[in-house]
Structures are given as C-alpha cells and as structure tokens.
Symmetry: C2
Subunit: 218 residues, 2 copies
C-alpha cells in the first residue's frame, strides 16, 4: 500500500468517524430510535446514500456508536478502579460509574441497550466483532477489580468464576438503569427517588460478593 492509498484509507476512516459523530448528534437530539438516517446524512452534510456506503444499514451505524460507548465506559471504569483501594470498593465503584455514565451519556446508554436487546445474529459483522471486543475490554477491568478484592480479602474468596460474576454484575446494573429509566413514574408513586433505588440495589448486589464473615471493604 503506497502513500496515496494510505491517505485514501485515512480519509475514508475520517469520513466514517464524521458520520458517527453526526449520528451521535442526531441520536442525542431526536432520540436513538426515532432518529432517521436522512437526518444523520444531513447533519454530516453528505448524501443519504453515502451513509450506506460506510455502514451496511441502520443497525450497523447504531452499533458503531455502541463501540464508542463501550470504549468510553472502559475509560471511566479504569479511572474509577484507580481511585479506590480495596477490591470491594473498586467493584462497587464500577457499578456507580455505570450509573453515572448512563445519566451523563443517555445516547451511549441507549446504544448499549440496543445492543443488549438485539437478537443475536449468525455471522458477526466487523462492527459486531468490535463491539464484542470492546465489551470484553470492559469486563477485563471489572475482573481485575474482582481479583484484587479476592486477594485483599474484601471480597468472598470462593467467587469461583470471575467472568460469570462480571457478566452478572453487568446484567444487574444494566437492568437497573433500564428499569430506573422507564419506571420513573412508577417509582415516584412509591415515593422513591431513582438515586435511592440505585444505591439500594447496588448495595444489595455487593452483599452477594462480601465475605461470609463480617465487614465490607476499607
């Protein structure tokens, strides 16, 4: 690949990123589901057909946003983990971080949610693989935190499968946010603030990871 081809490839990548930028913008403005490709194209100041040259279909564009979401989330997780000492606190911090992340980046959360409720496909598209890889990278941060906790005694020593634990925590937190988001009215009937609910739930989940004896972390 000579210099020119390389430049072409770079430009192409930039265009792709620019379209994802536009998509994010439109998703944020119009809503993840209601947004139209046409609007995205307009925002990117590009013809609609071009979008389809870079993305097979709408789903793949949404997935591309999801990849960004996971990568950014990983950054946040890394920061959260670094800020705590005990493994217990690191894990709990990840939970809270995801909650905050979802609140701060609703579009990103919508993208993740979309991925989470999308029917599994047969063959993996490249973007789909990226998504899985990015997801794995997030879980790796969690897993490291779990390992720390087991080593320092702030978490149960008999947590035998770190991957399953990480997946479970993810499922839990994700389900939580989703429910908090759609059942706000229902909860206000119960006179509960969403944040109270979140804290309560996270605490409950963390208890499942505490050592049988007494105290949590710190």
């Amino acid at each position: 690949m000579d210099a020119i081809q390389k430049r072409r490839a770079e430009e192409k990548e930039q265009r792709r990123e620019a379209i994802i930028d536009a998509a994010e913008q439109v998703f944020a403005d119009t809503g993840f589901d209601r947004a139209t490709i046409d609007e995205v194209a307009r925002q990117a100041r590009v013809s609609r057909a071009l979008v389809y040259l870079y993305f097979k279909n709408r789903d793949e564009l949404q997935l591309a946003v999801g990849v960004r979401a996971l990568r950014l989330l990983r950054e946040h997780f890394l920061a959260a983990v670094a800020a705590e000492d005990s493994g217990y606190d690191k894990v709990a911090a990840c939970g809270h971080t995801y909650l905050r992340f979802a609140a701060e980046h609703p579009t990103y959360f919508a993208a993740l949610s979309h991925f989470e409720s999308r029917p599994a496909t047969e063959a993996l598209t490249p973007t789909e693989s990226e998504m899985f890889a990015a997801g794995r990278a997030v879980h790796e941060v969690m897993i490291a935190a779990l390992e720390t906790g087991i080593a320092d005694g702030s978490l149960r020593s008999d947590i035998d499968d770190l991957w399953l634990t990480s997946l479970s925590l993810w499922a839990f937190t994700h389900g939580l946010i989703q429910l908090g988001r759609t059942k706000a009215r229902f909860m206000s009937e119960l006179d509960v603030a969403t944040d109270t609910f979140f804290d309560y739930a996270i605490d409950m989940a963390m208890r499942g990871l505490q050592p049988p004896k007494p105290a949590p972390g710190a």
Copy 2:
C-alpha cells in the same frame, strides 16, 4: 346500560381479545419486532384499519400482549411460591420461574422487554395503566415471599424496603435473561452454558439477601 349495549360491549371485548390472540400468534411466528400490523389483521381475519379501531397504535397492541404476559407470569409466581416452604426458597423460586417463563414464552418475554426499554410517556394510556397494575400484582407476590422470609429468618431481617428489593430482583433477573439471550455466542466462547450462568447469577443475587450469619433456607 341495557342488555343489548352490554352484549355489544362484550362482543367488542371479544374482538379485542381475538386481535391480541392474533398478535401473539404473529409475534411468535415472525418475531416481536419484525411482525407487521397487516399480518396481525390477516391472522385475525379482519381489516387492518379495524386493528387501529381497537388499538391506538402498534405500541398499544404490544402493550396489550405485555399485560397478558404479566398476568400469566403472576400465576407462575403464585404456583412457585406455594411450592416452597422457606421465604428464601420462595424468592429464589420466583427468580428461576422468571427464567423458565422467558424460555417457554419468548414472545411474552419480548413483550416485557419492550415495555422495559420503552421511553416513559407523559400521560398513561389505559393499556399502560393496566400494564403497571399487572406489574404491581407480580411484585406483590414477590413481596409476600420476602415478608415470609424475613419472618422465618431465612432472609436478612434488616431488609428495609421490600418494594425496592423486589424491583432490584426484577431488574436483575430481567437483565440476566436479556443478556443470556443476546450474548449466547459470547458465552459459548467462554465455554459456559446459559443455564450455568443463570444459576450462578441467581445464587449470587440471593446471597445478598441471606442473613449475615450462616445458613440459607430449608
């Protein structure tokens, strides 16, 4: 309301139910999202416009299926709870029941999932209210089980908010199923059967409800 009006109302209700029947069928055949109103109408042997006479829009039809799902789920919960002795076992049984329910009635689970990820609306439509009421009824079963557990000592005595606990468990289990459904491939990479994952996760969640000291239920 005289007899004739009453009969009319009954017939109308029957038509409505018939359309929901058709919708369930089509959703099961074609997939909850891909299914079209046209197909539902055809299945119900009725014109497409008539569907819109009984349901404001597609969403409301989907919600109507969701109501059925929740009502059936409640039945299953009641049976599950009745079959166990300790509160701990009752609660755990609800978890497993939801998992089995989702496996046996994928369309119903899809309907619930739809409701769970649907943006909250301003004013509640009648169907939406029905849905909330049905949801509440399900949680009431759970809450009763939690109360039993606290009374018989199989669950932590300091579980202070039963509603939040029930909501948390719901969010958890729901998130679990969703993840198990869409990440089957991912999990097979890890060499984990979905059932193993489910059991593991439920066990983890239940630990968060156990009394600090030693033993679980039975």
